[in-house]
Amino acid sequence: MEGASERVLVKAAQDGSQLAVEELFKRHWSDTHRAAYLIVRDAAAAEDVAQEAFLSALSALGRFDRRRPFAPWLHRIAVNRAIDWSRARAVRREVAAGPALLDAIGSEPPPDEALGSGAEVEAALGDLPAEQRAVVVLRYLLDYTPGEIARMLDLPRGTINSRLRRGLDRLSGSFERERG
């Protein structure tokens, strides 16, 4: 199963192959779990979100259209769950959910500054609302286009572009503050 194409794997999994299910898991767990962690920023919650995303995708595999790639479907489930989890946590805290998303709309391109290590980026991501973290993760970790992200999050592409732009602006700002 290791060398099989994804379409073959999905077909085999639909036909009941446990090996195919496990191969799909091995191929996609790492990215899905990392994406969930970067959005929820809580190890236990990220594990739950990624796990539930796999279970949800596998439960609906019988009606999955094999002509379509598996990863976007899985990532869509995981990222939307991660956003929902982050929102629920924000409600629980009963505080303003970070800086207002729409306070910092900018039309200028982000400055050409380099970001640092994974740990620095992880810390800087904490300054963003979950919705912006999700867009940044989908674009720069999972390599989806803005159009694909728009469909995954069911948002207009203009919204995705502005969230990306603001997210990158704020990441740069946070990173610069971290470095003093």
């Binding site: 036909d15 009941g16 190890a43 009606r63 939307n80 946590r89 998303l101 400055p111």
Partner: protein, 393 residues
């Protein structure tokens, strides 16, 4: 910003106990997809039953957790927000017409009696002006299909095909492919690029002639071109975060929806009305009423986690038609203008509101499941993309 370094840094991030999490997840996936060593993905009984049990257990665990308490609170607030109990299914539309709805399975047509037909596996769709056809996209393809789902023609482009818009005279379809704005005749012939370097905002045909098309270019201008000559009819600056353009049915007003601002512009591109979002709030979307006199706009206040549907317009004080917790989605006017469909994503509901009588609300619950039948866990909220067709057509 150095995007490559950002990519690299994101890939360096590791969740604590990554390997342990993977092992535990694999054990659970194995347990959920096998029983007594038998593969069960395809077996009709156990897989879903087992997962339902797992989901039920998970829900119970979630609801007794501190986070679950917050969710319960949110949901209760959402359904008790001063409006009527939700009906369990979309048994009918409140007025004549047909809805076109994009879902994770593809576009559906919903008739006035509530019956639905799935048109196929497409990403986005739009009505032809009389509702006789639907233009739909699937990755690199644009297709014209009839309401029964029969494909009449397709064309393929190298770039991803998105945002189809059928001209009001029915003779052309505009769409985005990569960064190009392209136009094709309604019989699939004569495909050509009308403009390069456009922003990812759906193009809008100017009603009246059906030959003028508005779009946002990558330089941040709203441009209206003659499709026949390619000549520029008007240009205006696009406000930051412009996400939607819509011409009124009489072709007199262009609605510009941006993150913090709504604008109405005339045929020459001159600003005739604008409304700014309050600090800390933003416009999710907006739609022009069929009369073109007012705008239904969804305003979200992020910090409060609350969204509102407002009726705005030149010379009119804003009126709140609905307010609810969480996130609202698209809004669509019925063909006769008497009803508004409002997506209440956070409550998984559609609301049908009568703008003349804001107390008259028909709420329909479980919308995701109704457009994703058979799913044990809905993955996407469907999107109502058009309510067809104007009276007399």
């Amino acid at each position: 910003m150095n995007e490559e370094r950002l990519r690299q840094a994101l890939r360096e991030v590791e969740a604590p106990d990554r390997r342990g999490a993977e092992e535990r997840a694999l054990r659970i996936v194995r347990a959920a997809t096998t029983a007594a060593g038998e593969p069960v993905v395809k077996r009709p009984g156990f897989g879903r039953r087992g997962l339902r049990v797992a989901v039920a257990v998970g829900l119970i665990a979630a609801l007794v957790s501190p986070a679950g308490a917050a969710v319960r609170h949110l949901v209760r607030d959402a359904v008790d927000d001063g409006h009527h109990p939700a009906r369990p299914a979309l048994a009918s539309l409140p007025t004549a017409g047909r809805l076109l709805v994009d879902s994770s399975q593809g576009p559906w047509i919903v008739r006035a009696d509530g019956s639905k037909r799935l048109l196929g596996s497409y990403d986005e769709s739009t009505w032809s002006p009389h509702g006789l056809y639907v233009a739909a996209t699937e990755r690199h393809q644009l297709a014209a299909i009839d309401p029964e789902g029969e494909v009449r023609w397709t064309i393929a482009r190298a770039g991803r095909v998105e945002d189809p818009a059928w001209s009001p005279d029915g003779f052309r379809i505009a769409y985005l492919s990569g960064s190009q704005l392209r136009v094709v005749a309604a019989d699939g012939s004569g495909d050509r690029a009308l403009a390069a370097a456009v922003s990812p905002v759906g193009p809008a045909w100017a009603h009246g002639t059906g030959r003028a098309l508005s779009f946002v270019d990558s330089a941040g201008s709203i441009r209206t071109l003659s499709v026949d000559t390619g000549g520029e009819l008007s240009t205006a600056p696009a406000p930051p975060g412009t996400r939607r353009l819509e011409w009124s049915r009489d072709g007199a007003r262009l609605l510009v929806v941006a993150a913090r601002e709504l604008q109405l512009r005339d045929r020459a591109g001159a600003l005739v009305w604008q409304r700014q979002a309050p600090r800390g709030a933003g416009f999710e979307t907006a739609a022009l009423s069929p009369s073109g006199r007012d705008v239904a706009a969804v305003l979200t206040t992020q910090a409060a986690g609350r969204s509102e549907l407002l009726r705005l317009g030149p010379g009119e004080p804003p009126r709140r038609l609905f307010s609810g917790l969480g996130r609202l989605g698209e809004v669509a006017y019925s063909p006769d203008g008497r009803w508004l469909l409002l997506a209440w994503r956070s409550a998984d509901q559609w609301l049908f509101l009568n703008p003349a009588h804001p107390g008259r609300v028909v709420a329909i619950s479980d919308i995701s499941a109704q457009f994703d039948p058979g799913a044990t866990s809905p993955v996407a909220f469907p999107r109502a993309v058009g309510w067809c067709c104007p009276a007399g057509r």
